[in-house]
Subunit: 431 residues, 2 copies
């Protein structure tokens, strides 16, 4: 029921006036009359928190800039705090203080949620407040709301995603143009898709944080970033991509979260997926999330995973939702959904298929030798192709059946001690 | 704020025990404990309305079956009415009576919403009640909630979708197996993808109803089914598909809704789309909706558009949402979003590119003649290829630039009166 004395004007503060903050401010101005129609209330940005309030900001009125957090936290008129500053601190402190002061939160902060989600969600729960974070995962793509609400009638068993645009851009260029990793990274950097220090992207940390958040929601059980196995794309070669293509696969950096009877698996690593899988067609800087659940079967969500306005779009969807809750006096109606406590598996306990390339001495009995090492460790071979023979060295490409990772690693350890095996390369999992 | 005296048990009634109704009942039982965790309340299906209450229903307790609407409408304990009987009447009367009796509605009824949406939404608004209908469009795919909520910070300019699984299955088989229309339809019927009378699917009516609903929400202005131009797939030939492929296109039955400065365009017709467009890869009975908006840019949502459990999944997402609203006493918080009154264009006023095949006399001057008729009517040619010459007849395949449909039709009328033009076939729009 709409409260009789509901607020006609809702005041918000934006923390951070970087790319995303400026985009959010812009949408608050441009969509003003639409928001009134959609929610019955007028949205006014009263303050924008910045480090240096005397510095001019393109597109933001000087009067709203402040470098004093107290002007926000102590202002009882401000109902919504939009945190788009990023990083753990001071964002975490600000969010918790704002919740304690009775304010609602919209945040785009994946680092914070993937590591301290429990603490901030508990603070929101205690305050009976909204804490919404659609923008923290996969930019503009609506995925948090679908997972929490639209799919509430399902048991979700798998969430798989291309949730890092930088690495998807690099792999797309390697695949389409035959570039090697360094060249594709250089191009991504030049175009602004990769940061000066690309570590968080190319090593899979950024994707891992998003997977921790999605797994927590999909399986109703907390997964934190340190529990996510991550492996990046820096070792993927043009050869790997070419060979994969010959087998009908493309290579993507995939986040994979599964709910199994023995526990939750969450990992990020390069993976060969069938060229006909919907995720295989997701190119350049686009993101996509593929979900399998018992009732709805398969669904996929694709869109812009980053960028000023796409991220601001996701933030504003949440802001409008919070405005509706304020108007109807029902903040906190969709709270933390981690009501189970499921174990999270170690990577070695999970199962995968593997693609690998082995350079070995080209003499009788070597293939039998390699096959028996695999067999003795429980690794069965699905496909094997001899790619080349030169200078007494044969190159074998092997795709295994599904195997427990510990067993596979044992076989790799034995290979590394065998004189006939010259090199193991391109060890990539297969979906 | 959660109401202190919030209901610990929420009673629902399901109208209809067909395929979807049985699926909904099943999820209500199977997910019982999850719903308590998600909403804080227990969901109990108290009644299932059927025509013949003495007939046994597999999976539904006899005790809840009733053929008496009064047992539902007059039961003050029942808070949620889940309408999955389909058709305009008596569904419409039941929904309006239920709203007047203070109940919340979840419905999967696209026919009703596409034709009488305004009336039922007004009744919900008057009652301050929820009326949710995610399952009415594109089955399990979350699209109503994303359009209404997640994208609230955007101005949406285009919604394009493959929203009918039957026709997508038929076109996929025609494209992949070279089947003609009749053969592919026969296979779809045999597999249960097409109904005994496939008219609503193959003529685009089903897709047209879904597009009316999506356009209304996306553009915040009511569009009803009679305002949607529909054209089916019955005239698509194996030749059309083969030629389209040669030009790098696939043929899909697309729903297309655009918000232009001159008004809203909503149409359903076969269309050539680039083979690299994400919608081109949506195969068999899958549905997908592609949305373009100013802030988020492009997004696509793909999944099962029909079927018992996928549809039940969408219904239950809404039921859980309504349960949360009941617990927090905030029903009606997301109401009708048609707060504008935009004109809807006639099909002749819209612009399209066209693909067409012309069989004409193979003699000097005929191409010039054809080209000048097009030119005189404002139709410019983007591509033209002469496909064959035999028996004094040449086959031309033409792709035009974008042209107002009225102008294009004028040219076609002139062709039909020209003795050198023997046949015009395969007139299909191009995205």
């Amino acid at each position: 029921m709409q409260s009789e004395n509901h607020k006609k004007t809702i005041y918000a503060a934006i923390l951070g006036a970087g790319t995303v903050g400026t985009g959010v401010y812009k949408l608050c101005q441009e969509m003003k009359s639409e928001f009134v129609q959609k929610t019955g209330a007028d949205l006014v940005v009263k303050k924008v928190l910045v480090r240096n309030a005397s510095k001019k900001r393109e597109g933001i009125e000087d009067a709203v800039l402040t470098d004093n957090w107290k002007e926000i936290i102590e202002d009882p008129e401000i109902d919504i705090v939009i945190e788009v500053m990023g990083g753990i601190e001071p964002a975490k402190t600000y969010i918790i203080e704002a919740l304690e002061a009775g304010k609602q939160i919209v945040t785009a902060n994946k680092d914070l949620l993937a590591e301290h989600g429990q603490e901030v969600m508990a603070a929101a729960e205690k305050a009976g407040a909204d804490l919404e974070f659609e923008a923290a995962v996969a930019g503009a793509i609506p995925i948090i709301r679908p997972l929490k609400q639209s799919m509430a009638g399902n048991r979700i068993s798998e969430v798989m995603g291309i949730v890092n645009g930088t690495t998807n851009y690099i792999l797309t260029k390697m695949s389409e143009k035959g570039m090697d990793y360094a060249e594709a990274l250089a191009q991504a950097t030049e175009l602004g898709y990769a940061e000066a220090d690309p570590t968080a992207d190319v090593e899979g940390y950024d994707a891992g944080r998003k997977m921790a958040i999605m797994a927590s929601i999909a399986f109703n059980s907390r997964v934190t970033f340190p529990q996510v196995y991550t492996e990046g794309i820096t070792k993927i070669s043009a050869d790997d991509i070419r060979y994969a293509k010959e087998f009908g696969y493309v290579i993507k950096l995939l986040g994979l979260a599964r709910n199994t009877p023995e526990g939750i698996e969450v990992k990020v690593h390069p993976m060969l997926i069938d060229e006909n899988h919907p995720l295989a067609g997701v190119k350049d800087a686009f993101n996509a999330v593929f979900v399998h659940a018992d009732a709805m079967d398969d669904a996929m969500f694709m869109g812009r995973g980053a960028g000023q306005m796409p991220t601001a779009s996701a933030v504003m969807g949440d802001v409008v939702d919070v405005m509706r809750n304020l108007v109807y006096n029902c903040c906190g109606r969709v709270g933390c959904s981690c009501y189970k406590q499921l174990p999270v598996k170690q990577i070695g306990e999970t199962k995968s298929k593997f693609f690998l390339r082995i350079h070995a001495q080209d003499k009788p009995g070597v293939l039998a030798n390699i096959a028996s090492v695999l067999g003795n460790n429980g690794v069965s071979i699905a496909q094997v192709v001899q790619k080349s023979r030169k200078g007494g060295i044969a190159e074998l490409v092997i795709i295994t059946d599904e195997v427990q990772e510990n067993n596979f690693n044992d076989a790799m350890t034995i290979f590394s001690g065998m004189s006939v095996v010259k090199e193991i390369s391109g060890v990539i999992r297969v979906y």
